[in-house]
């Protein structure tokens, strides 16, 4: 019970925090934001690993294996593609001004 209550408490504050954090990300970065947060929920990979670790029967191991593959795709792919996108955002460059006749 204690456990559940504290979890609820954390959930509530985290929700407030999430709201504040996200609402300050500019439109310009919403696509990277989407894919980054996307990668973050891949943290469930941790859960998938535990599933395999604690299992000894074929069924659970199979489920766990698929879960791990999925999770790893989510995490690696998500961060990777976000990094690729953000790598393209070039800093303001000195204006080109050579006039031509």
């Amino acid at each position: 019970m204690e456990q559940l209550l504290t979890q609820i408490a954390i959930f509530v504050i985290a929700a407030f925090l999430g709201w504040e954090l996200i609402s300050r990300v500019p439109n310009m970065l919403h696509t990277p934001l989407m894919s980054a947060t996307n990668a973050i929920h891949g943290i469930v990979l941790v859960g998938a690993i535990i599933v395999i670790a604690t299992a000894s029967d074929a069924f659970t191991l199979t489920i766990g294996f698929i879960a791990v593959v999925f999770g790893a795709m989510n995490v690696v792919g998500g961060f990777w593609v976000t990094n690729r996108m953000l790598g393209m955002f070039r800093p303001p460059k000195p204006r080109v001004m050579k006039r031509k006749g």
Partner: protein, 472 residues
């Protein structure tokens, strides 16, 4: 759980938070993403250090699984063109949801969800996770134009959905009641575990049915909604697994998805419910009154000479068509050219221009446009007054004044738009008079003094304009 592991997870969560905090400016964004990834690594390492496996098979399975997943993820992330972002996000969101659902499933199978709390959160995770898995898969195949393109509808759709949803609820109740309900109904074979499987399958089906009727262009909203779902599912499994990194991370992702969905639907000027249940209406291109109206059709040369001689300040409005035509490159060259002529060039970007929030920004920066030239709607709208020429490339809805017209109620009524009509001249670069995704005709097309219509494919057209400018 040992204190060390706990703290490791906490650090991971803190890094996720810091990472997102750094997404506020393009300068810091990339490092933010790296920080978040670093947090993920910490969480994983911490997990490895504490797991003692039940069978010798476990480690190879874990290692192999991660390796395979990582490779698939990395390769597709590296290969995907920037225009394909919506699909990519959908795909990763889907696998994430699937992972969550499977984890919860095995919790039930291993009988680890004894307490009603664990059972309840577990069920939530199974339902939301699998729903967002199958939904994302459909969304992906729609966007990738593999299958179900357009909006697939069949009779009594809503009814069927309702029934499935209801059965899911009943089955869940049955699980919580330890199978008692099934007993009462004389369906003894429906023990809790079987019910969970049934719920799993039903949710998968529901996910499919929920997404197929929605038109391709509304997908981004669906995706970010599913993103929110997956986040919440992750948070829920944080409850089950008593893991705060999951709990906190998931909650924040949930918030993110929620906010983005809300932003989009408000930028589209119509409530979420309408988008989801009448997405069809929008897709099915509204009123296209085909009585011939006169337009001021222009050639690349005319456009070029106007830009050269009469335009000092130019604003470019890119739209979905730019992406479709892959015209970012020519767009960038045109910008360079105009600037080398000593002209001021800015880009005005509508929040829902393109097919995903912020999509246009990514496409243009990819082409080489520095981000300080990309202006949000609020920032650019006041500037149109002193703008000599607005070049609208493959966009319509986001500049369609019909949105502000109180009389008729269209798919875009009330959607805030880029007020290009205030500029001295408006130049459309598109293939035809056909309207945009919302299917609403644009009065600006027919304003012959103000508007130049240059009918062409965006890529070709921009190249020709550049050519014309050079030869002037």
């Amino acid at each position: 759980m040992q204190a060390a592991t706990f703290l490791a997870y906490l650090v991971a969560a803190a890094l996720f938070i810091t990472g997102i905090r750094r997404l506020r400016t393009p300068e810091t964004a990339r490092s933010g993403n790296t920080l978040a990834a670093f947090g993920m690594i910490i969480a994983l390492v911490a997990t490895f250090l504490v797991t003692d496996v039940a069978t010798p098979l476990s480690w190879p399975l874990i290692g192999g699984g991660i390796l395979i997943g990582a490779v698939i993820g990395a390769v597709s992330a590296q290969r995907v063109p920037m225009t394909g972002m919506p699909q990519m996000v959908a795909a990763f969101n889907g696998v994430g949801g699937g992972c969550i659902a499977l984890v919860a499933l095995s919790e039930f199978y291993q009988g680890r969800a004894e307490t009603w709390v664990a059972a309840l959160t577990g069920l939530l995770t199974v339902i939301i996770g699998s729903l967002s898995f199958s939904g994302s898969v459909i969304a992906f195949s729609k966007l990738q134009e593999l299958a179900f393109s357009g909006s697939v509808v069949f009779p009594l759709q809503q009814v069927v959905n309702a029934l499935i949803f209801l059965s899911i609820l009943v089955l869940s109740a049955n699980v919580l009641a330890g199978g008692a309900i099934a007993q009462a109904l004389g369906l003894p074979f429906l023990d809790p575990l079987i019910s969970v499987y049934a719920i799993f399958v039903a949710s998968l089906v529901l996910g499919v049915l929920f997404v197929i009727p929605i038109g391709g262009a509304d997908m981004p909203i669906v995706i970010s909604l599913l993103n929110a779902f997956t986040g919440l599912a992750a948070a829920a499994s944080g409850f089950v697994l008593e893991n705060y990194a999951l709990l906190i991370g998931g909650t924040i992702v949930g918030a993110s998805g929620t906010i983005l969905t809300r932003n989009m639907s408000s930028a589209l000027g119509r409530p979420l419910s309408k988008i989801i249940f009448q997405g069809i209406a929008a897709a099915g291109g509204g009123d296209e009154d085909q009585e011939e109206k006169e337009v001021n059709e222009a050639s690349a040369e005319e456009v070029g000479s106007y830009l050269k001689d009469e335009a000092q300040k130019v604003v470019i409005v890119p739209g979905y068509g730019l992406a479709v035509a892959q015209a970012q490159g020519p767009m960038y060259e045109l910008m360079e050219l105009l600037e080398s002529e000593g002209k001021e060039v800015k880009f005005g970007i509508h929040p829902v221009a393109g097919r995903m929030p912020g999509h246009m920004n990514v496409l243009l920066t990819e082409a080489g446009v520095p981000y300080d030239k990309l202006y949000d709607m609020e920032d650019i709208n006041p500037e149109f007054e002193e703008t000599d020429a607005v070049i609208i490339v493959g966009a319509n809805d986001v500049v369609n004044p019909a949105a502000k017209d109180e009389e008729k109620d269209t798919a875009i009524s009330g959607m805030p738009i880029l007020e290009v009509e205030n500029a001295k001249k408006v130049i459309f670069v598109k293939r035809s008079l056909s309207p945009g995704f919302a299917g609403v005709d644009n009065p600006l097309f027919y304003d012959q003094d103000k508007t130049m219509m240059y009918f062409t494919d965006a890529k070709q057209g921009l190249q020709d304009i550049a050519e014309a400018l050079r030869n002037e």
